[in-house]
């Protein structure tokens, strides 16, 4: 190092691959596992390896290039963390506690036995099946890892570990053997579409920027993953930062950018730290910098940290933010590919899009097209969360059905409750129902149903989620994040939120519903950028698929999910009331009346459902009742 030619890099990789590895212990260091105590597990392994003098099997290689005990990025099954994997066998242990480590070392590393009670258990028809190997675990069975190929297998802070998985080979290949047009041609042929949500063909974007004549061009990686309920990009940046860098370098070569920016959310400090280290390491190794692999191509990168603004995920707003301005979007055209950062041609690609690029170059467009559908080739990562059993990170081929994704990969609904809805695409996406479960997951079919692919947040809901309150939640989010530049979004979202609040509070009437739809349509059609254009999606899809719930809230004051407080009724049980008057004293609106020895009464019209009386009553005489559809009064 530094690598001066492609051959030097290839030789180094060959050498790394030759090293004998007797056993590798991979401890998941993803956020989920860390929060569940993965650090203590890692430390215990370290201690035991030293104490037990496993040096013959484990410690020997630890000092070499391929460490045998390592902390990796996210392995995906966050729900069952901390996860530990033993390679090369591929055994996966779940919910590992520091005290389990002794047994793993003793039984698995020394005696080649599986520790039975730490492996995945699948309950089917009164039968319990155990799956010791990671590839057999139901969560992983239908997955296909391209973007996450290294995530959970390599130590993200070690360049050599990335190199050992053919790291930077794709970049060396394009720089030394392919013309920029060849590269764009290959990406076009692969059919790769932007994974940030829009689904624009990546190759076309590069082509536009290549055709723009300019002495400076930029490639920007959009790591401003602001969708609540999404953490795919975070996992890639934290678990495999070099892939992102390599993808950007290839893009830069393809359309002639020598400078790149990675824009990362402020809320992701670990991603920033890992990317910074990766950039420094890559620079030292001559993988980015001046005259790469003995050619005239130079490429370097800077990290920009966001400062907390959802709208900065929109590409023109993101560029404004990099320039140090308020992150407000600008009308397009001019498109960034013609006039972007400081007026120079700029391509903005999402983290996941870029992570696909090195593998497409290495394996070829045809290979890539063998996954997914004709119009949406490849895979998509999803962050599974909400009331789903296997919360975590999954990557599946496009074209999989929602049912497979939620019930096979995701394991169905927690506590065997009933599936109600799934929200795809965050605040810009839509809510889909039972009837959509057989939809295939690709850009076009989701769009047709009123949702969007989005960046990949998939929040599953059961009967305990109130759909109307959820729509209010999303509107509250987009309203807060509206930058205020254009009127339809700034004012429209405000009015929509007001109406939704009225519905949730039980103050709305039928006209409000019509007004809500009308306002939503205006906001959708007239807003300047994607934030406003898509903000009505959660409202419009829920109005389409869950109209009854809206009507229940408005006309019957009923919330079937028992979430909206205004749909509750507090009553005093005359049998239990001792007429002590405590409830009347704490009532902030003075709607409880009574006199000594006579049970007190709550005036339902005036009650604001604060629950103070419920908490104050020493005799449990205050009852809470949820209104139901055939409720009198």
């Amino acid at each position: 190092m530094p690598f001066k030619t492609k051959e030097e890099l290839e030789n180094h990789i060959q050498e790394l691959k030759r090293e004998p590895v007797t056993a590798q212990i991979l401890v998941c260091g993803g956020l989920g596992c860390l929060a569940k105590g993965a650090d203590a597990v890692y430390k215990r392994f370290q201690e035991l390896i030293e104490k037990n003098q496993l040096s013959a099997t484990v410690k020997k290689t630890a000092d070499n290039h391929q460490p045998s005990l390592k902390e990796t990025g996210c392995m995906g099954l966050c729900e069952a963390g901390p996860l530990v994997r033993i390679e090369p066998k591929g055994i996966l242990y779940l919910r590992v506690k520091p005290e389990d480590v002794d047994r793993i070392v003793e039984e698995t590393l020394k005696n080649n036995q599986v520790v039975d009670d730490l492996v995945y258990q699948e309950e089917t028809n009164q039968e319990i099946r155990k799956w010791p190997l990671m590839k057999d675990v139901p969560f992983y069975r239908k997955q296909m890892k391209i973007v996450l190929r290294n995530c959970g297998s390599i130590d993200p802070e070690k360049l050599d570990d990335y190199l050992a998985h053919d790291g930077y080979l794709a970049f060396a290949k394009v720089v030394t053997t392919m013309s920029p047009d060849d590269v764009i041609g290959e990406i076009l042929k692969s059919g790769l579409r932007g994974r940030g949500g829009g689904g624009f063909p990546t190759g076309r974007k590069w082509q536009f920027a290549r055709l723009s004549k300019s002495e400076r061009k930029f490639i920007v990686c959009n790591g401003d993953e602001g969708d609540p309920g999404a953490f795919m990009d975070r996992s890639v940046m934290e678990g495999d930062p070099h892939t992102v860098i390599e993808g950007m370098a290839i893009a830069g070569y393809a359309f002639g950018a020598q400078e790149g920016y990675i824009y990362v959310r402020a809320e992701y400090p670990l991603a920033v730290k890992r990317l910074k280290k990766a950039i420094t390491d890559a620079r030292k190794a001559g993988l980015i910098g001046k005259n790469l692999f003995g050619t005239s191509f130079s490429f370097d990168l800077t990290i920009k940290e966001g400062a907390g603004a959802f709208v900065c995920g929109e590409e023109t707003a993101l560029l404004a933010s990099i320039e140090g301005k308020r992150g407000m979007p600008n009308p397009r055209p001019p498109f960034p590919a013609n006039k972007g950062l400081w007026g120079y041609p700029t391509v903005i690609n999402n983290v996941e899009t870029l992570a696909n690029v090195p593998y497409i170059i290495l394996k070829g467009a045809d290979w890539f097209r063998s996954f997914g559908t004709v119009t949406s080739p490849g895979t998509k990562t999803f962050a599974l969360s909400g009331k789903i059993r296997n919360t975590g990170l999954a990557e599946v081929p496009m074209g999989i059905s929602l049912r497979e994704l939620i019930f096979d990969v995701g394991g169905g609904i927690q506590n065997n409750r009933k599936f109600k809805a799934v929200q795809i695409g965050g605040p810009s996406g839509g809510c889909l129902t039972e009837q959509h479960l057989d939809l295939t997951v690709d850009y076009d079919s989701l769009c047709a149903a009123g949702a969007i692919m989005g960046s990949g947040g998939l929040v599953t809901m059961d009967e305990d989620t109130c759909i109307v309150e959820l729509a209010r939640y999303f509107l509250n989010f987009t309203q807060n994040e509206s930058c205020g530049k254009c009127v339809p979004c700034r004012e429209g979202t405000k009015h929509m939120l007001n109406i939704l609040q009225k519905i949730v509070d039980g103050r709305a009437n039928g006209e409000d519903l019509d007004l809500l739809i009308e306002t939503a349509e205006v906001v959708r059609d007239a807003s300047l950028c994607g934030l406003g254009k898509t903000a009505p999606n959660p409202v419009l899809t829920t109005l389409r698929y869950f109209k009854d719930e809206y009507l229940d809230h408005v006309y019957n004051h009923v919330c079937v999910a028992h979430v909206c407080n205004a749909m509750k009724e507090y009553r005093i049980d005359p049998e239990k009331c001792r007429a002590c008057g405590k409830c009347a004293r704490v009532c902030p609106v003075k709607c409880i009346s009574g006199r000594p020895k006579v049970p007190y009464i709550i005036d339902q019209e005036a009650c604001i459902k604060c629950g103070s009386c419920f908490e104050a009553c020493p005799f449990d005489a205050v009852l809470v009742e949820w209104r139901s559809k055939n409720h009198e009064s």
Binding site: A35, P228, G229, P269, A309, G324, V459, Y473, C483
Partner: protein
């Protein structure tokens, strides 16, 4: 005497700001990074420093103020020594993040519309998503993530935090 002290503090503050400005070559396009570093030092953006930064970069104070108020990360009011960020992302929301927020505020004796404790030890905020959806509901205390919260667990964590910081304000002033 008090005046002198104040002036002394101010000039010392500007010294730090100058170092940050130098580091960024007084480059206007680094404004966000500059403000981030200033805030990391002072825990908020004092108004006189914003004006100073504007002059140093050759832009109007309104421009700097505009940027400082646009981004959620920046605060023009002093923040507590410890930041408690309760996640209210979708996954956390459907799993009851509002109750977590309520519990945290109760424990710290904050009213619904208050964010920072009077002793400037703790600030409580909600954030849109910290990307810990698999651990919902979650919160972040400074850089540490706590997941799968319920009322009891939240209470324990906050109690522990308060315990750790007993007499902490003396310490905070000395920093």
């Amino acid at each position: 005497m008090e005046m002198e002290n104040q002036e002394l503090t101010l000039s010392r503050q500007f010294e730090k700001v100058n170092a940050i400005l130098e580091k960024h070559d007084r480059n206007e396009s680094h404004l966000i990074s500059i403000l981030q570093e200033i805030q990391a030092d002072y825990r908020y953006l004092p108004e006189e420093i914003l004006t100073y930064v504007a002059t140093a970069l050759g832009v109007s104070p309104a421009y700097v103020y505009g940027v400082a108020t646009f981004y959620a990360q920046f605060s023009l009011k002093p923040k507590g020594k410890h930041m408690i960020r309760v996640c209210d992302g979708t996954a956390c929301h459907v799993k009851g993040s509002i109750n977590v927020l309520k519990t945290v505020k109760e424990q710290l004796g904050l009213k619904e519309n208050e964010e920072t404790t009077p002793d400037l030890l703790f600030t409580v905020e909600t954030v849109a998503c910290i990307g810990a959806c698999a651990l919902a509901p979650a919160m972040m205390i400074d850089e540490e993530v706590y997941g799968m919260l319920n009322e009891e667990k939240t209470r324990e964590i906050i109690e522990g935090l308060i315990e750790e910081n007993k007499g902490g304000m003396v310490h905070a002033i000395q920093d």
